[in-house]
Symmetry: C2
């Protein structure tokens, strides 16, 4: 399979969109995740470049939910969408290898957690090399609690998220696509605009997956600096404002156009 | 359900064991995870206090694997073993709530990742309060790569794992059992004996789940300081040396007795 960042850049140009729609079938609002997600995929396929199914909202239904997750991924890919499996896994190398094998065939990219360090992420990067996949590593997340660990001040004066940015840059250095972007991207909370700009500077080759737009309070204009490395160098993910809108298609189209205009 | 730490302490006393057997059905060695894990459960039920199924080795088989995970958990509980679901999840609060609902009914305890901070762990702690469950939060993990993030030196001179220890102590302070131990425990790599002792000091009320004994190179004698808060204040998890032994029962009995003797 072609390099993830090149496939992504093609899709961004073709659809004039950097919109990612988070498939979050909250168990209290959605009784049948598969049918719900199929409906959203049908509605947004022309306006979004990717969907991001959140594994937890499928796993909460047990094995049947995981089957729905698999089928949702396949359905979205058949509709011409890239799939980012939001699983945030991280484990010792032999275990991480099993996680990579579990998710890479289903999805074009996965989210990973850096707490356990480079050897826990390496099996996912190997899958990027081998199968043209991508990963997005948590750097500075959108929730309030992210400060507890990610904002800690280090002995050299930097904050932890700056150090993790540097790790991500190192991890992604030898998996570049033809367009110069790496298969190793970063998850950044759009709820922290100052950090978005700083992380852009620290990660000149990484695609930033920006979360927290919409229900969590961030606005598209908060993430403009993320696009300074090119139209395909950042993705903007939103979920509730699209998937529970009266017209998910109209809301996706509106948001995609707004972000595209800001990214130029 | 009764408090996790009290149920654990009862099991430790009754079985004279702090042994946890990691159920790691490596996909290259095990074709049928459920049948394999049932065999191990039958063999070790008298000698181990808990089993720790590693979710990745089930998820790699897709929805069928997740069904096997569910059935493995049920089978182990029916055999009188506590179940620690090794899932290392961590996500924003609404998502973490779904993960807690996915795993707490299946297992007595789960492992969690602290990178996203207190609000990502809180839904799991709520499940501890509500359902008598336990959690084990990653603090200092057994792999070599753990140094990349967990050993970072902070501005106040401590290392990151010391700060995370303090967070874990705070998170667990108001979920104490009758025996004084908290429902919020910590995952510590027995491969780092110096850190085991230090974390014991920082977490006087937490059960330490010690990993890395056996195939990863640590020995039972490396973790003696972990037991200074009581016989039930630490668990020693091992996997490959038991589950792939000629006689898993004999190896589990031997290890349980060795650890019990060291813990007194």
């Amino acid at each position: 399979m072609r390099h993830f960042a090149d496939r992504l850049a093609d899709a961004v140009e073709q659809k004039r969109s950097q919109l990612v729609v988070g498939l979050d079938p909250f168990p209290d609002r959605v009784s049948d995740p598969l049918s719900f997600c199929r409906g959203i995929v049908d509605a947004v396929a022309d306006y979004a470049v990717a969907v991001k199914p959140q594994s937890a909202f499928f796993e909460v239904h047990g094995a049947d939910g995981v089957r729905a997750f698999e089928e949702t991924c396949a359905y979205a890919r058949a509709a011409g969408l890239l799939v980012i499996a939001d699983v945030k896994r991280g484990d010792i190398p032999t275990t991480a290898e099993a996680y990579a094998r579990a998710f890479i065939p289903l999805a074009d990219a996965v989210t990973v957690n850096p707490y356990m360090g480079g050897d826990s992420v390496e099996p996912f990067i190997a899958a990027c090399r081998r199968e043209g996949a991508g990963i997005f590593c948590l750097v500075k997340t959108s929730n309030a609690g992210s400060a507890d660990v990610q904002d800690l001040e280090l002995a050299d004066g930097r904050q932890l998220w700056q150090h993790v940015s540097q790790l991500v840059d190192t991890w992604g250095r030898d998996v570049l696509g033809e367009n110069g972007l790496s298969a190793v991207g970063a998850v950044v909370g759009a709820t922290y605009p100052k950090e978005v700009g700083a992380i852009r500077g620290l990660l000149p080759r990484s695609v930033l997956l920006l979360l927290g737009i919409g229900a969590q309070g961030a606005k598209p204009k908060d993430v403009v600096p993320a696009f300074s490395a090119g139209r395909a160098s950042a993705l903007v993910s939103t979920s509730r404002t699209v998937i529970f809108a009266d017209s998910p298609a109209a809301e996706a189209r509106r948001l995609a156009a707004e972000i595209w205009a800001l990214s130029g």
